[in-house]
């Protein structure tokens, strides 16, 4: 059925848009379940969220009479209902079936959209889901929440799922707490939202029951039931919150199989399948299957553990540096034989350390295809909303990137793509007028370049009008005059805070988030972002990211008797300033570097350090930055290259510009690592 031929066209379009959204959420959830490969400890809320997606889709498809979608989502919902209620264990095969079902739902929805025939293979998918439903059965959790002192009112408002989660928390030996919070009616959702976010971080929110506070119309109370592995003392910080009280429900020893837990597991059961709890058996139920071995060859590891491992590797590399230095000193002092042996051992150690570093790094790497997949769904959705025709071409999806970096650039990347769709690609009729194909193209590509991964977003839209940017920048007072600013420099102005040329905030890329936020987010992971554009032909945004964050090679420099580290990847060259003429142009000091002028920046001025010597006495400049956004950082001395383990300075220094973090030098001293792109940006604004 063609959507446009349908008399209920608008309603069907709503259905398509919403089901695409639901499907997006479902695919994301399935993906994140897959990430948590150790599936005995998967996040129950994720499974419940997938259940809700299938449930909503079933209801919607039913209303419209889309029989196949309704049938598939109904069957899928049955499986998910059993999964979330713990009646069927989540195995890797099940996970595969879930992905397959989500894919089939996508095909069915798209076939409605395109008017093409129904895709084949539906029957097979249905069979495989049904097989999962009947393959393995778990026994229900044999515990009773009745004797915990939870009021009937709360117990009676629990859905079947919440009731199951309560039992599951008891069976797993979690501590249960009841929070009571009272808020003014007109602001409750914000304050309650904050409390719920915190509670979700420390445990599982099982139920949130609103209650009338003595019939007062101006306030509302909530009883929040929470299961957590944390002890009472860790919740005490909440006692100070206005209007919040905490009650521990019965037991507080969070150990599965402990006597207290057994006491509960042995008590009466409501409608769960009964199973006598054996004295020594853990209270957690096990799936009934012929072998206890897990089918999966992978396991889930908390990324912070990998961070710690990476830190240790980094520190080992530093210690190794100390050993190498000792061997050099020994040779200088005449112990040449021993020095030679030590140097040889140290070389061997260096090779193994490099290998160890490489291996630990590899564990953190995942293909960018996962990120691209997310983007493609967003593009489809926006296209439908805006009536644009866009083909998204992806290449280099198997390029690998550090998991943490990938997560951190997801939002900036999405913003850039949204910009392309919103401001870049013209509507089909406008494209036709310009003699372009009606369908626009966005090319998303990734490739490795040395120790960096480059991600490019290229569109064939209207490009960026640099004159308009310049006019806007002058109007906003971001630059004094448009004279002497090259098109390329004008383009880089869009990264300044407060810059936005969109005449009205659009639904897609607007909302006040500018390219400055994009740049900040990218430089927070030591990446850089650049933009190229030809008016009328399109633009290209280039994101350059380090492959991994933890260890960097840095140039250690000295300024005003203080040491700073500059990541080597940002250093273009170093210059001696001896005999070089320093001129002053528009109150900025510059030198001539080959064909171009290079602005100079004195570190002691930038950081307002005391005892600043005249610049002419500082004999070196470190050239940093990209192509025509380069500056020379003037320093007193170049101390050499070193591997550094970069560490965050924490939130206190969040507002301090120009610093990416701190690192240990190996001799117990600490050094600040410069945020080069931040410094270059500041310098370009002329504040330094």
């Amino acid at each position: 059925m063609m959507v446009t031929d349908d008399p209920k066209g608008k309603a069907v379009r709503d259905f398509l848009a919403e089901s695409e959204e639901i499907l997006d959420q479902m695919s994301r959830d399935i993906l994140s379940l897959g990430d948590s490969a150790d599936r005995d400890e998967f996040d129950p809320e994720t499974v419940n969220s997938i259940f809700r997606s299938a449930h909503s889709l079933k209801g919607l498809a039913g209303m419209f009479g889309f029989v196949e979608i309704a049938e598939l989502s109904h069957t899928l919902e049955s499986l998910l209902d059993r999964l979330r209620l713990g009646k069927v264990p989540l195995e890797s095969a099940t996970l595969g079936v879930l992905s397959e079902a989500a894919e089939m739902l996508g095909l069915l929805i798209r076939s409605l959209e395109s008017g093409g025939g129904a895709p084949s293979g539906l029957a097979g998918v249905l069979d495989r889901i049904t097989a999962c439903i009947s393959s393995a059965r778990r026994e229900a959790v044999a515990v009773s929440p009745e004797d915990l002192g939870i009021t009937d009112k709360i117990l009676h408002s629990l859905t079947e799922y919440e009731d199951h989660r309560l039992r599951e928390n008891i069976a797993r030996g979690k501590s249960l707490y009841l929070f009571h919070a009272v808020y003014p009616l007109d602001t409750f959702d914000r304050e309650l939202g904050g409390l719920l976010d915190f509670l979700k971080e420390i445990g599982e929110v099982i139920s949130t029951l609103p209650s009338a506070e003595g019939g007062m119309e101006s306030s509302i109370g909530f009883d929040i039931l929470v299961g957590t592995g944390r002890g009472r003392d860790e919740l005490d910080c909440l006692q100070g919150l206005e209007g919040v009280t905490v009650t521990a429900l019965e037991r507080s020893v969070p150990a599965s199989g402990s006597p207290e837990v057994r006491a509960v597991t042995e008590s009466a059961v409501q409608h769960a399948v009964e199973r006598p709890a054996e004295a020594d058996a853990p209270a957690v139920e096990r799936p009934v299957s012929s072998s206890a071995r897990s089918l999966s060859r992978t396991m889930r590891v908390d990324i912070t553990k990998l961070d710690e491992l990476m830190n240790i590797v980094g520190e080992l590399i530093l210690s190794h540096g100390t050993v190498a230095a000792i061997s050099t000193r020994m040779r200088a002092q005449g112990f040449s034989g021993l020095a030679m042996e030590l140097a040889k051992a140290s070389k061997g150690m260096e090779r193994k350390l490099a290998e160890l570093q490489q291996r630990v790094m590899e564990v953190r790497m995942i293909p960018v295809g996962q990120l691209f997949e997310r983007m493609s769904r967003i593009v489809r959705k926006i296209c439908r909303e805006q009536g644009k025709k866009i083909e998204l071409r992806m290449s280099g999806a198997d390029t690998e990137l550090d998991k943490m970096i990938m997560e951190d650039i997801a939002d900036p990347l999405m913003h850039i793509i949204r910009n392309s769709i919103d401001h870049g690609i013209e509507p089909p009729d406008e494209r036709a007028e310009r003699g372009k194909q009606e369908q626009g193209t966005i090319r998303l590509s990734a490739f490795q370049k040395g120790n960096h991964v480059v991600i490019e977003v290229e569109d064939d839209g209207r490009g960026i009008d640099h004159e308009r940017i310049l006019a806007k920048a002058v109007e906003l007072g971001l630059v004094d005059t448009a004279e002497g600013i090259t098109p390329k420099e004008a383009l880089s102005l869009i990264f300044l805070p407060g810059f936005s040329t969109a005449d009205q905030v659009s639904d897609v890329s607007g909302r006040g988030v500018g390219m400055d936020v994009v740049r900040n987010n990218i430089s927070a992971v030591s990446g850089t972002v650049d933009i190229e554009s030809v008016s009328g032909e399109g633009s290209r945004v280039i994101i350059t990211l380090p492959i991994t964050l933890a260890i960097i090679k840095a140039l250690v420099v000295k300024s005003s008797n203080r040491c700073f580290a500059i990541p080597v990847t940002s250093v273009r060259e170093t210059l001696s300033l001896e005999g070089v003429e320093i001129r002053t142009v528009e109150r900025k000091r510059v030198i001539q570097l080959r064909e171009s002028t290079l602005p100079l920046l004195a570190l002691e001025r930038f950081f307002a350090l005391e005892s600043s010597p005249e610049m002419s006495e500082s004999p070196f400049a470190v050239v940093v930055g990209e192509s025509d956004r380069r500056i020379g950082i003037v320093v007193d001395d170049l101390l050499g290259q070193q591997d550094l383990v970069i560490k965050s300075l924490g939130s206190i220094f969040k507002g301090v510009g120009g610093i990416a973090g701190a690192a240990d030098l190996g001799d117990q001293s600490t050094i600040l690592v410069l945020d080069v792109s931040g410094i270059v940006a500041e310098a370009m604004r002329g504040t330094a």
């Binding site: 039913g62 408002s157 859905t159």
Partner: protein, 121 residues
């Protein structure tokens, strides 16, 4: 003009409900996209009928019913559940907590319209 509060997180489903209700004369719909939304709207609007879904992300429909039936200001407002076929236990609970009617999606607009006339004329 009688006011009907609809609590439903799916925008498409909401607009179908609105269309069914507004096809009749004399009713105005107030839309809540979540349980929290409904809690905020209830004291502001003197509603004559509440229609709610069960599976919702912040508070579920059962919790909303429990709140409404516990609150002297709203206790006597008729309340319908409209939910996709699901847990029998949840349907039983909804009715025992004080819901007046239970409709299963996909619902027939005529069926909903008839029930609305029955309860609030």
């Amino acid at each position: 003009m009688k006011k009907i509060l609809i609590t439903e997180d799916s925008p498409t489903m909401r607009s179908l409900l609105v269309a069914a209700i507004e096809a009749m004369d004399g009713y105005r719909v107030i839309e809540a996209s979540s349980g929290f939304d409904a809690l905020r709207l209830l004291p502001r609007e003197r509603v004559d009928l509440i229609i709610t879904d069960i599976n919702m992300p912040d508070i579920n429909g059962l919790e909303l019913i429990s709140y409404v039936r516990d609150n002297p200001n709203y206790r006597s407002i008729p309340l319908f559940i409209i939910s996709t076929e699901g847990s029998d236990r949840d349907r039983e609970r909804g009715l025992s907590l004080g819901a007046d009617e239970y409709l299963v999606k996909p619902f027939q607009p005529e069926q909903l319209q008839r029930l609305i006339r029955d309860y609030i004329g």
